[in-house]
Symmetry: C2
Subunit: 451 residues, 2 copies
Amino acid sequence: MAERIQDVLRYIELHETEYVTLLQEFCRQPSIAASGEGMTEMAEMVLKRLELLRAEPRRIETGGSPVIYGHIEGKSPRTLGFYNHYDVQPADPLNEWISPPFDANVMDGYLYGRGAVDNKGGLVARIAAVDAWFHVWGELPVSVKFFAEGEEEIGSPHLASFAKENPELIVCDGYMWEGGSKEPNGPPEIALGAKGMLYVELFSGDSADVHSAKAAMLESPVWRLVWALATLKDEKENILIEGFYDGIPELTRAEKEALNTDIFDMEKAHNHFGGNRYLPGLTRNELLTRLYYKPTCNICGISAGYQGQGSKTILPGKASAKLDFRLVPGQDPTRIPGLLRTHLDKHGFGDIEVVCLSGCKAYRTDPETPFAKAAVSALEKLYGTKACIRRSEAGTSPMYTFCEGKAIPAAMFGATNKDSSIHSPNEKLGLANFVQNIKITAMVMEELSKY
Amino acid sequence: MAERIQDVLRYIELHETEYVTLLQEFCRQPSIAASGEGMTEMAEMVLKRLELLRAEPRRIETGGSPVIYGHIEGKSPRTLGFYNHYDVQPADPLNEWISPPFDANVMDGYLYGRGAVDNKGGLVARIAAVDAWFHVWGELPVSVKFFAEGEEEIGSPHLASFAKENPELIVCDGYMWEGGSKEPNGPPEIALGAKGMLYVELFSGDSADVHSAKAAMLESPVWRLVWALATLKDEKENILIEGFYDGIPELTRAEKEALNTDIFDMEKAHNHFGGNRYLPGLTRNELLTRLYYKPTCNICGISAGYQGQGSKTILPGKASAKLDFRLVPGQDPTRIPGLLRTHLDKHGFGDIEVVCLSGCKAYRTDPETPFAKAAVSALEKLYGTKACIRRSEAGTSPMYTFCEGKAIPAAMFGATNKDSSIHSPNEKLGLANFVQNIKITAMVMEELSKY
């Protein structure tokens, strides 16, 4: 491993307490985007810390919570971008926390708190890495740009316009996007992209509930919704909306081969599935292909009529369902609602209303870019083993929104514990994992400077 | 119109206030079967009033609330049965009542109160008719039997065993069953039967909700429920469970012809449908055939996942639906769950659990029985016009449970206002309608004595 980075890594280890204290400070300031609680104070706190870092931070208004931007010149011509967010999910249900969500207590090697992982832990790891480089070498190997947004947990409603209005600001060699996790004894993992998303709600009927004896002669909004849904996807998971799969590229040979070396462990993963079963009749690689490369059509919720204990005999006057489609490259979330509308009309469901709640395209980073190579190299050097490289996360992120216009590379990776309970009670970040995240960031700065 | 009945009808008119006061007294005593509130007091009140009527009442234990039975000998060998119930639905939501539900206030010619129609109004009309006959003639034209049960609103769980344990007690020439309604200016209506019912709940999955990115590789309990439901009934309302329609007789010529003279008014009825639409492409007679003669498969409720505002991206770990099947003669509610199980298994839904909540057979009364003829004759004489005779209610009642063993005729008819809001806030009985119900009862006693 290279010389100068060793000193930085050692410095990080020696200053763990200082960085944990900073993360605790960040976590003790509530910043709930959904309610607005503490957002102003948190933005100010981030700004102040970037000032200490000599990042010449700016508070950039977006129409919602501001983006806190910072920039530091480094030695090489390369620039590393950090995308993080300082807002958090609401903390309820409060009574399920074993330590109050904004106390940021450390217990058994974990820091418990809302935002500890998602994403204050990520933001502080970036700050700490830059801080360590400065302390050890008085300068940075690459330039860095900080973007800390305050609306990620409410769907980043102003991120697209921010990127559009600040085209030069966002340019860099690549973004370390939010963060990432790994198995305790597994190799490092990196995702060079994320799926997109279309979220729609279907509404059937808008009448009063009536006595179910009348079901003999009246249309049933809930039956119509059930029939309509059943036309969208068959029992073999084929999505039947005409044109839905158009534009999706076949897997390349390299992508297919990568599945063989992917560290995904069917049995271990299943422990995190809450008892849900794998789709039957599919091989491991077929399941992984679906996870990384195929779009989904999922029912997040369905609702109609009486849902309490026992029986009530009504014909429900209305019914609705919420669906999310995870999208892959080639698919356009602005085009699919039209396909869905046409599909429903064609199948006789012109009465079923489609309302789009949000949409976001998938994003992919070219693995041959200097940033992607530097990120993989950093991980492999730090862990001394081959990284598990994935073309995409199974989940969605606003990477596309931010990066697409300038085709900026972005990747998600990190050492966060998999059992981090983000978005849930008892969100927790292992202190050892936090330190590794700082080291990973420092290492990527070093590696990128070489390309 | 015959002589002696005229004096009884006149007496009823002159004593309206007295009978309304009695109904108010009954309505002011809460008797909510679901919670048990006031059940003992109400049973006692009914018993006391039947004592005054010299009906030698008995409180017959059932295991739940007792049946109050009364019997009075009349002049002819015929016996008229009265099936009513003294329990009521819960009164909530209380804040929607314009007059407190147990105040029994009279406003604008209506008595407002929980139970005013369903079924204390029916019970008091029977008592008042007998009372009037006694006062005018000192004797009854036929014997009468009162059966007032206290568990109708919770599904009459002890009615079958009561009927089985008291086979001689329940025998009579026919039952005036609960009550019935009519259009303000329309002819009298009578239903010589009721549909049966099977109520089931379907359960799919029993896991935790997980992040919807995992929907790419996991089975979805809600999708499986949707697909399973879609195999049960097609968009043309054909129920696809093998054997479901077995044993259902074709409509007779008389039944088909009766549809032509049925007073059902498509437009007027539609006003009571809360905005729901008629099944498309069907004629009036086809709709009526479905209403009176065909079974249904209705979804009363369906539930899974996130149902709040906005979006949440989960794969719901469980899903469920409540279904009611309205049954017709020839169908057996104890046989259909097996058919449903076989159907689901055959279609690959062995994982979907079926739980039966209740079942009840359809019931039909022979229109050629003395009771049925007397009932129709009474209505036609009182109103001076042909009655609209139906082979069945569209709804369900426990007629079968009570009458089937001894094949006792039963019919539902009366003069109650159609806008009575039973089971809802502001249940109300028109005083004029109440008086007509007393007269109808008195008239049936007279007519039955002639057969």
